[in-house]
């Protein structure tokens, strides 16, 4: 064409972009190529849901006021769950809770999250939107802001719908020093509620295992609970959320990290009857099943009652219990007095916890 002629044509609305077809649209490779399609995806799905001034800055990072406190805490988690939507939650909420909790378990107040998405070509935009909105709701509820993010697209068969990695930054108030290394013989082990709910809810959806249950995932942000606990007892030694590997593995980690042993009381560990039943059916042990809204706390014995009271007063700690105590043990064994009257080792999870037939 000759330039001058063309300019007489229709008006070009340079900024106009036809909105995404959320109902029928799917992710294609172009959404990850960094061009206008990628920019549109961010604008219409991510910014729309997470809307906050940090993201609206539109930079490749967020600029944040330096917080007041004793120390910063930084924690990260990759989330790869299948199915993406499960009873009680979805990967979006989970990806907020998982990292908020890791920050909270350091005794910190979580403030900001980053979110990195790895989308599989062909992933329905409607599902993405639902997940992102769920993330946004979870972040609002936890009082944190998703301040920066990134999105990549991989070819079909090289991903699994969506993976979400989140990183959280928070601030530890003065006077708080919580670590997995701080457990001391004589300390008391507290658990904030029933074990295994998340893992069983997810398993109930697995193809070929399917069973019907009213159990839903316990996925939740625990920073509010932690704040109440620290208010009751700033000397809390250790906080940790027993996610993958369950209570058994988490306690073994702490035992090794602190150089101690532990002795649990099986009868004191709260397990929902349906979780118990599902574990019987599949040959699993609830102590190894993942939780996403529970925490273990190790506290000086003389303050256990105060902390337990604070936990029970919080909705996420209503079923809190004292489940054992820290021992001196050069082998760092976690042992348990069984409800039956015997005693046994509660070992680390080894390999994957697979349903068994024998």
């Amino acid at each position: 064409m000759n330039a001058r002629d063309d300019s007489k044509g229709g008006t070009v609305r340079a900024g106009y972009v036809r909105p995404l077809d959320i109902r029928n649209g799917r992710i294609d490779m172009g959404h990850g190529a960094g061009g206008r399609a990628a920019s549109q995806l961010i604008e219409e799905i991510f910014l729309a849901a997470f809307d906050n001034p940090f993201l609206r800055q539109g930079n490749d990072g967020a600029s944040l006021a330096i917080p007041q406190g004793a120390r910063l805490v930084m924690a990260t988690d990759a989330h790869v769950i299948s199915p993406l939507f499960f009873p009680g939650g979805d990967i979006g909420a989970l990806s907020v809770h998982g990292t908020v909790n890791d920050v909270a378990m350091m005794g910190a107040t979580p403030l900001w999250l980053s979110a990195s998405f790895i989308l599989e070509e062909g992933f329905p935009l409607a599902d993405l939107k639902r997940i992102v909105q769920s993330m946004a709701a979870a972040a609002r509820e936890a009082g944190v802001a998703v301040v920066t993010g990134d999105t990549k697209v991989v070819e079909q068969g090289k991903g699994d719908g969506v993976f979400i990695s989140t990183t959280g930054v928070g601030v530890v108030p003065h006077g708080i020093d919580v670590s997995g290394a701080h457990a001391r013989p004589g300390d008391v082990i507290l658990l904030s509620g029933t074990v295994g709910d998340h893992g069983v809810a997810v398993l109930s959806q697995r193809e070929s295992l399917e069973f019907e249950t009213t159990i839903v995932s316990d996925t939740a942000a625990l920073n509010g609970l932690v704040a109440d606990m620290l208010a009751a007892c700033p000397a809390i030694r250790t906080l940790r959320d027993p996610t993958r590997g369950g209570v058994a593995t988490t306690l073994n980690e702490i035992a090794r990290q602190s150089g101690v042993g532990m002795l649990l009381d099986e009868a004191a560990i709260p397990v929902k009857p349906e979780v118990d039943a599902a574990c019987e059916l599949l040959g699993l042990d609830p102590l190894y099943v993942a939780n996403e809204g529970k925490l273990l706390a190790i506290v000086p014995a003389d303050q256990a009652d105060a902390v337990l009271a604070a936990m029970r007063a919080h909705p996420h700690g209503a079923d809190a219990a004292c489940i054992g105590s820290v021992t001196e043990d050069p082998h760092h064994f976690v042992q348990m007095n069984t409800r039956f009257g015997g005693r046994r080792v509660v070992d680390w999870l080894s390999g994957e916890q697979l349903p068994r037939i024998c």
């Binding site: 063309d6 070009v12 549109q40 062909g122």
Partner: protein
């Protein structure tokens, strides 16, 4: 890069521009059609329009194999992938061409179709060798340049006895399309499209030679200048066309002598005629059915013909009603004449095929040409 950089020299461009300004008569309009998308691309990317006199107008022709690919052919490739579970191999260019049901090969891939971009027909053969348990179809598009490599792939598949390779042949022929435009009522009768001459294909002519264009010059009294795809080639060709018009001549001239002669590449022509034969008629997007304008695979190679191997009949599909691609490809309209140009139809969401390839008239104008009337103010 030798034989490239020299042909992009801005100083020389200004020299040609000066000559053009001198030789183009102020008292008349010059309208030339560059048949090839390659020329369209060069004009847009290097800003050649800027250097032309105001009364020289370039009309984009239908010479972009992606732009002329009818919806129904893309639908066939998509059906092969989605319904026949075939691995479809194709050039990157076709991936985003809009097809029926808001699909494209890109979107069909996102819906699970095993669609793979290849750089060469030979790579599609490799895919077939590597996946003996799957059927592999090469979705072959292109003009006379791209056809010989497809012929070689079929010949090699036959030699190797490959049982899982076939070609969905959409190869089309340049001269028939030019004839079609010259025969169109707009050009021939009404004169609504005043074409004073053609810039003839560059790389196509390497294969078929200059001779096939002599017919146009004689029969339709239109000057033709075969030109390379570098911007200086294009400018020089325009200068040569202006001179022919000024002198009342209508000959085939060759600006691209460094690569094109009268007869073309006989080895390539031989391979093509061994494997392919003329189709009596073929649909071109924008032009409709054009007689003897495409190739099909000869019966001797039937087993490599995806149209025979699979039950995927061709169903013509009309373009979006708002889309002016047809008129644009015939030179009757300009991209900005389309009501949805740049709004509903953008490179992200192409409605018509001209918005897909960067050689397409609409895409080229969208990507490169939209600065018109926008003043450049550097200081605050």
């Amino acid at each position: 890069m030798k034989y490239i950089d020299e042909f992009r020299d801005g100083d020389v461009a200004r020299r040609i521009a000066d000559r053009l300004a001198t030789e183009a008569r102020a008292d008349r309009q010059y309208s030339f059609m560059e048949f090839c998308g390659g020329h369209t691309h060069a004009i847009s990317r290097y800003g050649v329009s800027e250097l032309l006199p105001a009364n020289v107008r370039m009309i984009h022709g239908p010479g972009c194999p992606v732009c002329v690919l009818p919806i129904g052919r893309v639908d066939m490739a998509i059906r092969l992938a989605l319904e026949h579970d075939v691995i479809v191999c194709t050039y990157g260019d076709t991936m985003r061409v809009p097809a029926s049901d808001s699909l494209s090969l890109t979107k069909a891939k996102a819906r699970g179709g095993d669609i793979r971009m290849v750089y060469s027909a030979a790579d599609a053969l490799t895919v077939a060798r590597d996946n003996p348990e799957r059927q592999v179809v090469f979705f072959a598009i292109g003009f006379e340049t791209t056809t010989p490599p497809t012929a070689l792939a079929i010949l090699r598949a036959q030699r190797e006895g490959l049982k899982n390779f076939s070609v969905l042949c959409c190869h089309v022929l340049t001269p028939s399309a030019i004839t079609h435009i010259l025969e169109s009522p707009e050009v021939r009768q009404y004169g609504t499209v005043p074409i004073d001459g053609f810039i003839g294909p560059a790389h196509v002519s390497i294969v078929i030679g200059a001779a096939p264009y002599e017919h146009f010059a004689e029969e339709y009294r239109k000057p033709v200048v075969i030109a390379g795809f570098e911007p200086l080639d294009v400018m020089q060709a325009i200068l040569m066309l202006v001179r022919q018009v000024n002198e009342g001549r209508a000959h085939v001239e060759n600006e691209f002598t460094r690569a094109v002669d009268r007869d073309g590449n006989l080895a390539a022509q031989q391979k093509v005629s061994e494997v392919f034969e003329l189709r009596p008629s073929f649909e071109w997007r924008g032009l409709g059915e054009v007689p003897y304008s495409a190739l099909k695979i000869r019966p001797a190679f039937a087993e490599f013909d995806a149209e025979r191997r699979f039950d995927v009949g061709y169903t013509p599909v009309a373009d979006n009603k708002a889309c002016e691609c047809g008129a644009i490809l015939r030179g009757v309209k300009k991209p900005t004449d389309c009501k949805i140009f740049g709004t509903v139809c953008t490179p992200e969401n192409p409605i018509g095929s001209c918005m897909v390839s960067s050689e397409g008239a609409c895409a080229a104008h969208y990507a490169y040409g939209r600065f018109k009337d926008i003043p450049v103010k550097v200081s605050a």
